[in-house]
């Protein structure tokens, strides 16, 4: 890749939907009325919404132009740490559109929906095998929803033992969703500081864990990209005081086929199918956040659950201790089937290979940037590497400015300012699906930005300069919110 990736090109302007159109146009094939009109009483009817009337070509142009203002994994490298922007296979999109799946009604009699039920039942088994846990629910609609489901299970568990607890341990490196999910169940988060090497020390947990503490929520590998090597000992401490270990499996993509959380003391774990199992992020969702639990907690899983007898699948709500339903129907089936297709495409060896190359790629970037960026920890990382802004502090150039400059080079910036315990954090997760040439291009771009920070910091402050819009005024947006036109 001798030529730089970022370039200028013709991008078209496009107004807002309601700045287009003309009364009487439509982009919808209206079926002819084959029944007589039968108007509702006038007092029940309204004016109808004030939508613009657009022609089909207008709708098509509008959204095609908008799409060209977007950057996706299909456009280029998207190394957002903790977000796992791996390639989203096209075959999975095609399969999701198969009418038997796409047009299936969620309340079909079970005899008429055996295909979907079998798919879900198989997927539960796959995820159970991968996590080393005994039972799985596919209902949770996203990672945070999986966390909430997990916390509901923790809550139901302690209630069943006759005494509710009030607190929960959460490491200082955790995603913000962890404390928020715990708070929904009435648990006060107790921060657990990570040790000098970026991992949690058993003695820290031992000092904080007591009979009022419901358990611990722990992300492993953690958000610093490090494996929590004291996991079995931490689990032993938490269990000895009657608590449960909740594993945030957001970073499971680093250890597929190499570590099974159920074997190292985790009692409950959520997975992000949109991270580890390649389903697309869709500009912020929909994802899916299945939850796996060990055998004795399965009675608390959301219901109804899929049960199989002699090759026939049914839905059963006969779980009196269940936390209940967490979504209207069966979860994000359309996402589940993509993850199912991914697991079948990869096979057991492919999944392990994916983790191995994710880790190699992250370490490669770490190694090739560590002379210009300051690594948060001087040790090999798992699937993502984290740097601080220490080397740039003298020049006054911030992490944000370097990130914005990467855009001009044609790369999506990494995650920045997270985890909070790292000053000016730069968190890079390349994933296993990027070629070495792509990684090299990104590395060279970052190195040139670091050089530029010393020589011409103004160029960074003005970045991005090649995008359709320049730096946006987020302060004005928050001071005088305009959320609808």
């Amino acid at each position: 890749m001798s030529e730089a990736l970022g370039t200028n090109g013709l991008v078209l302007n496009e107004p807002l939907l309601w700045e287009r159109g003309k009364k009487g146009r439509r982009a919808f094939s209206m079926p002819a009325a084959d029944v007589p009109p039968n108007p509702l009483p006038a007092e029940l009817t309204g004016e109808g919404p004030d939508f613009p009337d657009l022609g089909e070509i207008e709708v098509v142009r509008h959204y095609t132009r908008l799409s060209t203002w977007n950057f996706g994994v299909d456009t280029g490298l998207y190394p957002l740490g903790s977000c796992t922007m791996k390639y989203n296979p096209k075959i999975n999109e095609k399969l999701a559109g198969v009418p038997g799946f796409a047009a299936a009604h969620p309340l079909l009699p079970t005899a008429l929906s055996q295909g979907a039920l079998q798919l879900m039942h198989d997927l539960e088994r796959f995820l159970s095998e991968i996590t080393g846990l005994d039972a799985v629910t596919l209902q949770p609609a996203a990672g945070a929803h999986g966390e909430l489901t997990g916390m509901l299970i923790v809550h139901a568990y302690h209630r069943s033992r006759g005494r509710q607890r009030t607190k929960i341990l959460i490491p200082d490196t955790a995603h913000g969703t962890n404390p928020a999910s715990a708070a929904l169940c009435g648990y006060a988060p107790v921060p657990v500081p990570s040790g000098p090497d970026g991992v949690i020390l058993p003695e820290t947990v031992a000092a904080l864990m007591d009979d009022e503490t419901a358990g611990i929520m722990i992300t492993n590998p953690n958000t610093l990209g490090l494996f929590e090597e004291n996991m079995p000992e931490i689990a032993r401490i938490v269990h000895s005081r009657g608590g449960l270990v909740y594993g945030d499996g957001a970073n499971m993509n680093a250890v597929l086929g190499m570590v099974r959380p159920g074997s190292i003391g985790v009692d409950i774990l959520h997975l992000n199918l949109h991270k580890t199992f390649s389903t697309p992020h869709g500009g912020g969702g929909p994802g899916a956040g299945p939850v796996a639990v060990r055998k004795d907690l399965s009675r608390f899983l959301p219901s109804p659950r899929i049960v199989e007898r002699n090759g026939v699948y049914a839905l059963s709500a006969d779980f009196p201790e269940s936390v209940g339903r967490v979504v209207a129907y069966h979860g994000h089936f359309g996402v589940l089937l993509r993850a199912y297709a991914y697991i079948l495409s990869m096979g057991p060896d492919g999944l392990k290979e994916a983790s191995r190359f994710a880790v190699l790629s992250a370490n490669y970037i770490r190694e090739r940037l560590k002379d210009v960026l300051h690594p948060a920890f001087d040790r090999p990382c798992m699937h993502e590497c984290v740097f601080t802004d220490r080397n740039q502090q003298a020049s006054g150039v911030t992490t944000l400015e370097m990130a914005k400059r990467l855009i001009d080079h044609g790369y999506h910036p990494p995650t920045i300012y997270f985890p909070l315990v790292v000053h000016g954090a730069i968190m890079i997760e390349p994933t296993e699906t990027e070629t070495k040439e792509e990684l090299d291009g990104f590395i060279e771009a970052f190195r040139s930005i670091v050089r530029e920070a010393g020589e011409n910091p103004q160029a960074l402050r003005e970045a991005p300069s090649r995008t359709k819009v320049k730096r946006l005024d987020e302060t004005a947006a928050a001071r005088n919110p305009c959320l609808a036109g």
Binding site: E474, T475, A478, R479
Partner: protein, 134 residues
């Protein structure tokens, strides 16, 4: 961000370690956040103030101040009843940045113990705290 020598700290005010200032006005006190605090917060986009009539204890939260990507809580420098709030901050939160000791004041309090003001830091004491801990 300002260097400590650039921070304005009027000598006639008293200060709390949580970065509030207090001005005595007869039997009432006016309260706001310091120049140092507003500078640390960055562009303020929203201020949530307590209700008039509320009684809030020293050290308890009386307001939250939001910038684009942070939320900070303001703690009562002394116990008392809220008797006035600065409604102008609702429309114009930027006053907190532009004039922290003037138009950006936050609340007026009737303290339970007017003598409590003398227990707060002087400008010199507050500055020494900033130098020690900043």
């Amino acid at each position: 961000m300002k260097r400590l020598e650039e921070v304005t700290l009027p000598g006639e005010l008293r200060y709390s370690v949580d970065h509030e200032w207090v001005q005595t006005e007869g039997d009432r006190v006016r309260v706001g956040i310091t120049d140092y605090a507003q500078d640390q917060l960055g562009d303020v986009v929203y201020v949530e103030l307590p209700s008039v009539g509320a009684h809030i204890a020293q050290g308890a939260v009386f307001a939250t101040v939001e910038s684009v990507k942070s939320v900070s809580e303001c703690f009562m420098p002394l116990s008392g009843e809220i008797i006035e709030i600065n409604a102008a901050l609702g429309d114009d939160p930027v006053l907190l940045n532009q004039s922290p000791y003037g138009d950006g004041w936050m609340i007026v309090v009737k303290p339970d113990d007017p003598a409590a003001v003398s227990g707060l830091l002087t400008a010199e004491g507050y500055l020494a705290r900033l130098k020690g801990g900043a």
